[in-house]
Subunit: 208 residues, 2 copies
Amino acid sequence: MISDKTVERLSQYRWLLEMHVDAQTINLFSHQLASMASVSPAQLRRDLMAIGYSGSPGKGYMVRDLTESIGRFLDGSKPTRVAVVGMGNLGRAIVSFLSGRRSHLKIVASFDTDVTKSGRVIGGSHCYSQDKLEEIIKRENISVAVLTVPSPVAQSVAEKLIDAGIKGILNYAPVPLKVPEQVYIENRDVTAALEKVAYFARQTEERE
Amino acid sequence: MISDKTVERLSQYRWLLEMHVDAQTINLFSHQLASMASVSPAQLRRDLMAIGYSGSPGKGYMVRDLTESIGRFLDGSKPTRVAVVGMGNLGRAIVSFLSGRRSHLKIVASFDTDVTKSGRVIGGSHCYSQDKLEEIIKRENISVAVLTVPSPVAQSVAEKLIDAGIKGILNYAPVPLKVPEQVYIENRDVTAALEKVAYFARQTEERE
DNA sequence: TTAGTGCTGTTATTAATTTCACAACACCTA
DNA sequence: TAGGTGTTGTGAAATTAATAACAGCACTAA
Ligand SMILES: NC(=O)c1ccc[n+]([C@@H]2O[C@H](COP(=O)([O-])OP(=O)(O)OC[C@H]3O[C@@H](n4cnc5c(N)ncnc54)[C@H](O)[C@@H]3O)[C@@H](O)[C@H]2O)c1
Ligand SMILES: NC(=O)c1ccc[n+]([C@@H]2O[C@H](COP(=O)([O-])OP(=O)(O)OC[C@H]3O[C@@H](n4cnc5c(N)ncnc54)[C@H](O)[C@@H]3O)[C@@H](O)[C@H]2O)c1
């Protein structure tokens, strides 16, 4: 089984390969890509070992080939269909950011209880009323949701999503969701992240 | 030295204590708070040990007291002054979300190169022109920055921030910043997070 | 061809983090 | 008082993650 951390780093390696390697570079050494990603060369080689990719000594890794290998591993055969639930400030920012990006992550719908938001097209995808949630998720075969609703309703909305068949949730509400273990949850609590940064920033200040 | 993970969990414990514990509850057992946070009781006890807090057997932890202990540990003596750089969709969402929250994290300024954004008050804090960055950061004694600028400029903006004296950065641009090691960086790459969720969601789908 | 160089893949080692397990303690009840 | 129950704090064990180390290969140059 492959780890959490490894998957996240693979995603980053691919992004670097696609965005930060110029077209004429056809191969790269582990220390080069590792340094772009701020990880150790050993770590990078180990991550690639996990997906069964091999470079060649003296030659390194073929950029095109490696990019595709990571893609095959991360993306699977068909695009992942994604919904964003809660089209407030954050939800809209995420939709507009992700729309028309990576073709294998498709934002196909969004949901909101607020009638001034639902029924419109926001950031390139249709925003539906929350009542339609189960229907649309099943019909559109959506497997992943981004949850950006106010925290008091996050748990109950998550349960509706899971009942409707969602298999993974990227949760921005600062509540640790309680879900059955087959559902994968990734929590992104902004306040906790900022408090962490503030704590360590103060540590370095005080060390002076 | 206290770990990364522990600090993040402490922040979460505090949030739960403040928001999810009703006023008449005066004490809690480790298994109760642990279950709210979805961690093991042993983990919780160990985290509290790290900050030198002690409960009492049979009684558990005093809610008020524990909340304050975590606060003393995380917050330090004075509020942390924070700036948001790049007032696009995401920057504005974060500012409006954080303004008027936790009093020890103060958003005191924001910055943008776009003249239609700078010079105004956005989400309760003044948005300055990017030219003023160094001046304001020094004058306002800002130690932490949230970075929400387009990724091609993220590295150069980060360097300006560090020159101006910033000690910690919460980075939303999907580039791994290269910075001197005294500066604490927390990367929040939305795409990588979503790809990770999509990957594990697919795993559970295929396991069926 | 042969020796040399510099890389990869993988095993071994070390480090970090989490969980286990249990003595010691507080409190309740009789 | 004494015995029972249920919790904490923490050393030890287990697990997980990261780093180091190195054999072996590919290529170069003489
Ligand atoms: N804005 C940020 O930067 C930010 C940062 C961190 C965390 N968050 C969290 O993300 C969540 C949303 O933040 P926001 O700033 O976008 O808030 P917001 O109030 O702007 O948006 C919330 C949206 O959810 C909708 N909504 C409410 N109940 C709903 C339901 N039951 N089903 C579907 N939609 C529902 C509302 O109509 C609204 O449009 C909150 O939990 C917040 O704590 C936001
Ligand atoms: N919107 C999202 O949900 C989201 C999610 C993940 C990551 N991101 C990342 O966050 C960043 C911002 O995203 P966004 O959607 O808010 O984009 P955006 O284009 O809406 O906002 C970017 C803002 O930065 C400003 N800017 C440009 N150059 C600047 C400079 N040198 N100094 C200061 N300000 C500058 C622009 O004027 C603009 O207001 C991007 O790197 C993006 O990849 C956004």
